[in-house]
Symmetry: C2
Amino acid sequence: MLAPDDKLKFSPKPYLAATARFAAGTDSPREFLERCLADLAALEPKIGAFVHLGLDAARTAADQSSERWRAGKPISAIDGMPVGIKDIIETIDMPTEQGSPLFAGCRTERDAASVAALREAGAVIVGKTVTTEFAATEPRGTRNPHDLSRTPGGSSSGSAAAVASGMLSAALGTQVIGSTIRPASYCGCIGFKVSLGALNRGGSYDGLSQSCTGVLAATLDDAWQVAYEIAVRAGGDPGYPGLYGPARAPAPKPPQRVAFLETAGWSAAAKAAKQAMDDALAILKAAGIEIATRRSNNKVAAVESAIADARPLSMRLNCWESRWPLNSYRNRDAAKLSRVMLDRLAEAEAMSIDDYRKDLAQRDEVRRLYAGLAAECDVCIGLSAPAAAPSGLGSTGDPGCTVHASLIGMPAISLPVLQDEGLPLGLQITGFLNRDADAFAAAASIRALF
Amino acid sequence: MLAPDDKLKFSPKPYLAATARFAAGTDSPREFLERCLADLAALEPKIGAFVHLGLDAARTAADQSSERWRAGKPISAIDGMPVGIKDIIETIDMPTEQGSPLFAGCRTERDAASVAALREAGAVIVGKTVTTEFAATEPRGTRNPHDLSRTPGGSSSGSAAAVASGMLSAALGTQVIGSTIRPASYCGCIGFKVSLGALNRGGSYDGLSQSCTGVLAATLDDAWQVAYEIAVRAGGDPGYPGLYGPARAPAPKPPQRVAFLETAGWSAAAKAAKQAMDDALAILKAAGIEIATRRSNNKVAAVESAIADARPLSMRLNCWESRWPLNSYRNRDAAKLSRVMLDRLAEAEAMSIDDYRKDLAQRDEVRRLYAGLAAECDVCIGLSAPAAAPSGLGSTGDPGCTVHASLIGMPAISLPVLQDEGLPLGLQITGFLNRDADAFAAAASIRALF
């Protein structure tokens, strides 16, 4: 346990709520940014959320935004918002290192689609946030702001830690297993993993078929707005319709019925986490929301069975899909790859395309089954992680509660409303493909119950 | 017209057929390569097919392959094959310039998935071949080996010209509108555009939703083998099952019935090209193959109607999907983008995500309709281009005969069996999604009739 004087003090930085004062002239994006940077100066040396900072450019962008707000002509609702970019996503003015010494200092001379869209919307890019190696397993030292001896989760480690500790209003992450929802749960901020393909991954080094852009944010409103502003400017992945939904965060709408998904993470869940989940379900029931479970509903039970091995199935799919580029990286300099990456490559090289096709077919079947749940409930609910952030920085924690959402490709939202060991624990709302807005409306309604 | 003494002399370099002599010791990959390089030295100054050559590395790789064949242990059927790589596809040892001065000398320090697979199969990478700017419209000076005053087609200009003129056995291209089949038609080699997603595009700067890897090759056998060896090592695009089919080129199998697709290109077709197509259909009929046309078959007529505006629809889809990265490139240095790219970006910025969704829905409908043709015929047939390569180097020619295959995502093969103006003209065989092997078997059978 940390001594009390090791407890960091920080305050989240919701942005949309602050913009009314920009219009009124009593605050400005530049002043907002300076508050973030003051906290950043104090906290970053202890947390280690950033790989690279671009403070001069950020201040210049914030000044330009301040002028626009003063003139009553902001480009978008997130004009001036201080954001961070996970360091697997390209930025024209900062290196993109992918958490790997192979790419130390690597400059790709362009912005990723999401980053170009954020800049176009007036957002202020503060820096590149720490990612595990290639957004996979190997952590890179970021600490949890709530307890510096614990992991912030990963792979979007820096994005979650920076947002939760109020250094930024929002940050981009990605998720292929649990890399947005899990760190949001551990750090105590909003996590939003969009529907499969709903935000353009162009220029992001997360090409795996389950991978999706995620948003870490201080509030649901901020999270939605960031995703929306990207979608209308950069669309979804090529060939996908992109994020559907309104120009401002969907209004809260209470679900009539939710399905409680235990997921594979439940059996590993801490006693206090299970109790917190039970208490949450009681709160929903008291609000008149019906709960379907594996015990009360056959279709929920069938989905629970189908997602029981979501993690090994996802790992096999990721493994084959990672054969390249890992083979090219190993051929370049194997000494700069972690043991876990080299092992994954060896596993990939032992697989065949036929193995992969079988796994794809199994994933299709799980997706089909899950889509059927839409007739049974408005959204699903569950823990975002089996427990609070584990101690130590050697692992980013257990993805048992999140991997099914990546496998299925549905939208997932983590609400920072539960606790375990006195630390944050997320309540996860998952929806249905391309119905991100419905999931958001339900999440906003549930958020208000806590 | 060129004077006769301007006619280049060249001989294609089929590879698989030569390998029997490697095993026997009467030839070797190194000697094979030297024959290619001798022609390259004579022809390349006139044709301009390459942006970059890696001859030392190629000779080293060919020597290593020679040793493997001598030892009776080639890695694959294409071990030692001299290949070229379209310059939008990453190579670890050569720059990837994308036909753009923005990327002059740009080194990405890795191999693309297809290139890594080719190396792993023992293929010899000779160089990077000329592409139009960003594999789109603006030509970069390559000349047609059959008539230096004419375009080789594009965007895979260098790949087609180098293969047709015998500088290489095969080369990688890509196609999103007509960039593999059209240059194959103009240059007189095999072109093979695979089913949507059938070959992994990782590390290739052709992220558009219709874009596919293509193979230009001296023979059908060589084309199939290149695609097959990539597929088993790199798979398809993440989430796709990858190229299906046997470990050696599918044996010729005569189709019972083919559908003649006029496509939008027919109305623009040269008289001699139409006559060549009519003659080809007569040859098929004489071989006992039934021909369905828009006049004899309602489903063919419905498909013809649906693909009539395949080009504007494809251009709109490409346009929205090109908003990024063109916006990032323009912001970096607009002076290094062609007028046509700047215009495309302006058009993209005038589109909305809703426009794109409507176009996607229309494409889905065309795909659904085309899939129904599988009940009516084994493959479809048509011209690969409306005419021989046009004069001049300012345009890569009319894609009216090819764009429907890209829109639909079906496999397409161009056979160099027709002529117009005494120059090559391709006969195009198109199949059905993920049935590339069936299309190949039919194409091999049809090839033998000419």
